[in-house]
């Protein structure tokens, strides 16, 4: 008998026809390192919450089939007993704590388990030590960075000592440097504690080699594939891809190589494994090289749409931006990157005129930002906020889009066509009469972008356009932006997703410690390892792989 047994588990939510999980059969042994993949809304998180009994005890759902952990059903356990067996690390660092300081938060779970003071003390110190938080024991949680908060989340779980740790997209909201640190921590912990780890899909290229099992849950709620990641990605590659499920970059490259005649004795899961077996063949296709298109040449003396000159800004005595210079030319697809605290959000507040520059100037379309009227600025520049919900002001999708036209004083006959076009372009036609708040995450994001294009704005600034979006919505969103860019729109996106930068941007501005550390094309930046290291940025795996294949070809 395995430690965790799931038999014929079917879950559906009230008022929804669709079964989120459909006849799941699963046995998991102690110490397994498991990766669960699936499309969004495909029941991964549902499965996690079913394992500790939150579903159906706190979240109403229809459930059939059985789950047993160590011979006992979560349904029949109280929350304390469940927490001794299963611990979950959630995605959002801001909404999984209820206390004010690091110590109090870790202690909270231990008190729930009714441990003695001595035992609490011991476990508290131990988990702080393991996660490297000892120095922050008395720190206020609100002062911690996102990465530190997730470490704290993990520390809480480790202290409670459950046999199974479920990590539900724990790095989805983190920047590359914190993500890497978290990965390192997961690897260390799994080695030191030998817990059963269940990861739920997110970008974990670096962790893949430590996984010994992968389960794919399809859109219909059934298990599509179950096995070692090598076999799953090798034999079910196309099924997974067709479901729009995230696939590790390394497996993508390996599969492409295989199609070109490469024979793998061991399907690679890490760059090292890839390197050791890869034999280049002239047929190898590189789709990467065409993605990184060169800057539209010619462009002599083009007027920049956005120009930042000698810009400085401080909060109190702390200099946040120090002599920042860069410009965005028409037709560019630019990415503004940099570690947390580099001044990205301050810069965007300056663009929006919520802050005034201390010195230097920002000009849009060659006119200083202070001289432009709000209305003029609005007609030329679209700005998309991180949380799409914040931008909604009307009761239906259609009104939301029409609002922009009305404010410009257009007549209905004039905007009717344009509205239709936008609805179609952003795949919102079927939802035109719905309330914006009732849309899915991906639809909300698309609508928020669409509302910023009602006036045919030439420059579009996006703050973390893929934040909190799953793989498929990210893809759709980015393809949309790419199309817009090809049709002549200029795009500036603030992001920390280096894969996106590699795949879509044709210009990159790296901000570090308040100044521009790099401005130019993407490939050149990726070659500058030291510069990237100094700004806690990381070359995306896809780029490394691409370089590798090319180098190998060069050798032979």
């Amino acid at each position: 008998m395995s430690y965790l047994n799931i038999h014929n588990l079917t879950v559906s939510y009230p008022f929804q026809r669709k079964k989120v999980l459909n006849g799941i059969d699963l046995q998991i042994d102690k110490g397994e390192k498991l990766l669960i993949l699936g499309p969004s809304g495909g029941g991964k998180s549902t499965l996690a919450l079913t394992l500790n009994g939150i579903i159906p005890k706190s979240i109403d759902a229809n459930l059939s089939g059985t789950v047993t952990i160590n011979g006992k059903q979560p349904l029949k356990m109280n929350f304390r007993e469940a927490s001794e067996r299963v611990g979950i690390l959630f995605q959002d660092p801001d909404t999984q704590f209820c206390m004010l300081t690091v110590e109090d938060e870790i202690v909270f779970g231990l008190e729930n388990q009714c441990l003695t003071k001595e035992e609490i003390e011991k476990r508290l110190e131990n988990s702080l030590e393991l996660t490297g938080l000892t120095k922050w024991r008395m720190a206020q949680i609100k002062d911690l960075s996102g990465g530190m908060k997730q470490k704290l989340g993990l520390a809480c779980l480790i202290a409670m000592d459950p046999e199974i740790l479920i990590l539900d997209e724990p790095t989805a909201n983190l920047d590359p440097a914190s993500t890497e640190e978290m990965f390192q921590l997961f690897t260390d912990i799994s080695r030191q504690l030998n817990k059963t780890l269940i990861f739920i899909e997110h970008k974990l290229d670096d962790l893949l080699q430590h996984m010994n099992r992968t389960i794919v849950i399809g859109g219909d709620g059934t298990i599509m594939a179950d096995g070692h990641p090598r076999d799953v990605f090798r034999h079910h590659y196309w099924e997974i891809k067709n479901q729009g499920i995230w696939i590790p970059q390394i497996c993508k490259a390996a599969k492409t190589a295989e199609e070109n005649g490469q024979v793998w004795s061991k399907f690679p899961l890490s760059i090292e494994e890839f390197k050791s077996e890869f034999i280049s063949s002239p047929k190898v296709q590189r789709d990467q090289s065409q993605a990184i298109h060169a800057l539209q040449g010619s462009g002599e003396q083009q007027m920049p749409l956005l120009q930042v000159e000698n810009l400085s800004f401080s909060y109190n005595d702390h200099k946040v931006l120090n002599n920042v210079n860069f410009s965005i030319l028409p037709g560019e697809f630019a990415a503004l990157i940099g570690p947390n605290g580099a001044g990205k959000s301050t810069l965007s507040k300056l663009f929006l005129r919520f802050l005034k520059p201390e010195s230097g100037r920002i000009s849009f379309f060659n006119r200083e930002i202070g001289d432009l009227k709000s209305r003029d600025l609005m007609q030329k520049v679209g700005y998309v906020f991180q949380n799409p919900e914040h931008q909604f002001i009307c009761d239906t999708v259609e009104q939301e889009l029409a609002y922009g036209f009305k404010i410009l004083g257009w007549g209905e006959d004039k905007w009717k066509e344009r509205l239709k076009e936008l609805l179609h372009q952003f795949r919102l036609t079927d939802h035109r009469h719905h309330n914006p708040f009732s849309l899915s995450q991906g639809q909300k994001r698309r609508l928020s972008v669409a509302t910023m294009l009602t006036n045919d704005q030439q420059l579009l600034i996006l703050d973390e356009p893929t934040f909190g979006q799953d793989h498929i919505n990210t893809k759709v969103m980015m393809e949309l932006l790419k199309t817009l860019n090809q049709k002549g729109k200029t795009i500036l996106m603030i992001t920390h997703d280096m894969e996106l930068v590699a795949e879509y941007a044709n210009k990159v501005i790296l901000l570090n410690e308040g100044s521009v550390a790099y401005e130019g094309d993407v490939t050149t930046l990726f070659k500058q390892k030291e510069l990237l290291g100094a700004s806690s940025m990381k070359v995306p795996i896809s780029y490394t792989l691409n370089r590798l294949t090319r180098e190998m070809e060069g050798v032979i």
Binding site: S83, C114, H390, G404
Partner: protein
């Protein structure tokens, strides 16, 4: 700044929060029958001295908080002078053609000082009490169900987040061309548009926190242990004795001189 003061380890910070909360109630009860301005003035001076010397709060910080409240207190004097229920006989001087009577000024002064006293005694509580300690003390000594105690803590954490979110929503709306609201009608319309996204966010956050708390084995029952017990110490005894002497003394003085 506030957190810094709340745990700076001075005498008042070490007093049991339940006792401090109780002392706020005593002040209110004690002041109910008082109508002269001297008692609240004396009490106010004592309170501020306590906050500064036994709470380690910098006088500058304290007075900065009290300034807006002083305007509020002054409004009592003004109202009593301009709209007295009975105009006093001892006219001090005239503002325009309006007589200002000593009796009315004193009543106003009494009420104003009383309000300042309540505010500063509340500050004594707020500035020297960690929220976590208050919550634990209420659960441990006042039979507050942990369900509410920890629920309140979770909500308290959200306050700054709300403010941040409100700013973002306003910013996002301005970008859509809404501009600053003008007039009451505009303001009502704006608040409606702000409230919906704010509520949507709040409900989602609350739900997530609740799930996270239950996942950590929290069931709201009293069946739990406490790593930090909020103790009753000698300091509580001293504070209690001090309160007793203070009120006994004040009562004695009042009996002799006022009544």
């Amino acid at each position: 700044m506030l957190e810094h003061y709340q745990k700076n380890g001075f005498f008042l910070q070490e007093v049991n929060p339940t006792l401090k909360l109780f002392s706020v109630l005593i002040v209110i009860f004690f002041m109910v029958p008082v109508f002269d301005p001297w008692t609240p003035l004396l009490m106010l001076i004592i309170t501020l001295t306590l906050i500064i010397f036994l709470g380690g709060i910098s006088p500058g910080f304290l007075f900065k908080i009290l300034i807006p409240f002083s305007f509020f207190a002054f409004s009592f004097i003004w109202i009593n002078v301009v709209f007295p229920s009975d105009r006093g006989d001892t006219v001090l001087f005239f503002i325009g053609s309006m007589p200002v009577a000593l009796e009315n000024v004193l009543t106003g002064l009494s009420l104003g000082l009383r309000s300042l006293l309540f505010i500063s005694w509340s500050l004594l509580f707020v500035l020297t009490t960690e929220p976590t300690k208050l919550m634990l003390s209420l659960i441990q000594h006042c039979k507050l169900p942990p369900r509410f105690g920890y629920g309140m803590m979770a909500a308290y954490r959200f306050l700054p987040l709300f403010r941040q979110e409100l700013e973002q929503i306003r910013a996002a709306h301005r970008i859509r061309g809404l501009g600053e609201p003008r007039g009451i009608k505009d303001k009502i319309r704006e608040s409606k548009m702000v409230i919906i996204p704010l509520m949507a966010g709040a409900i989602r956050k609350a739900e997530r926190v609740a799930i996270a708390m239950e996942s950590k084995g929290f069931d709201g029952s009293r069946e739990r242990t406490y790593y930090h017990a909020v103790p009753w110490t000698k300091k509580d005894m001293f504070f209690g004795i001090f309160l007793f002497i203070l009120y006994a003394g004040l009562t004695a003085i009042r009996v002799r001189f006022v009544i």
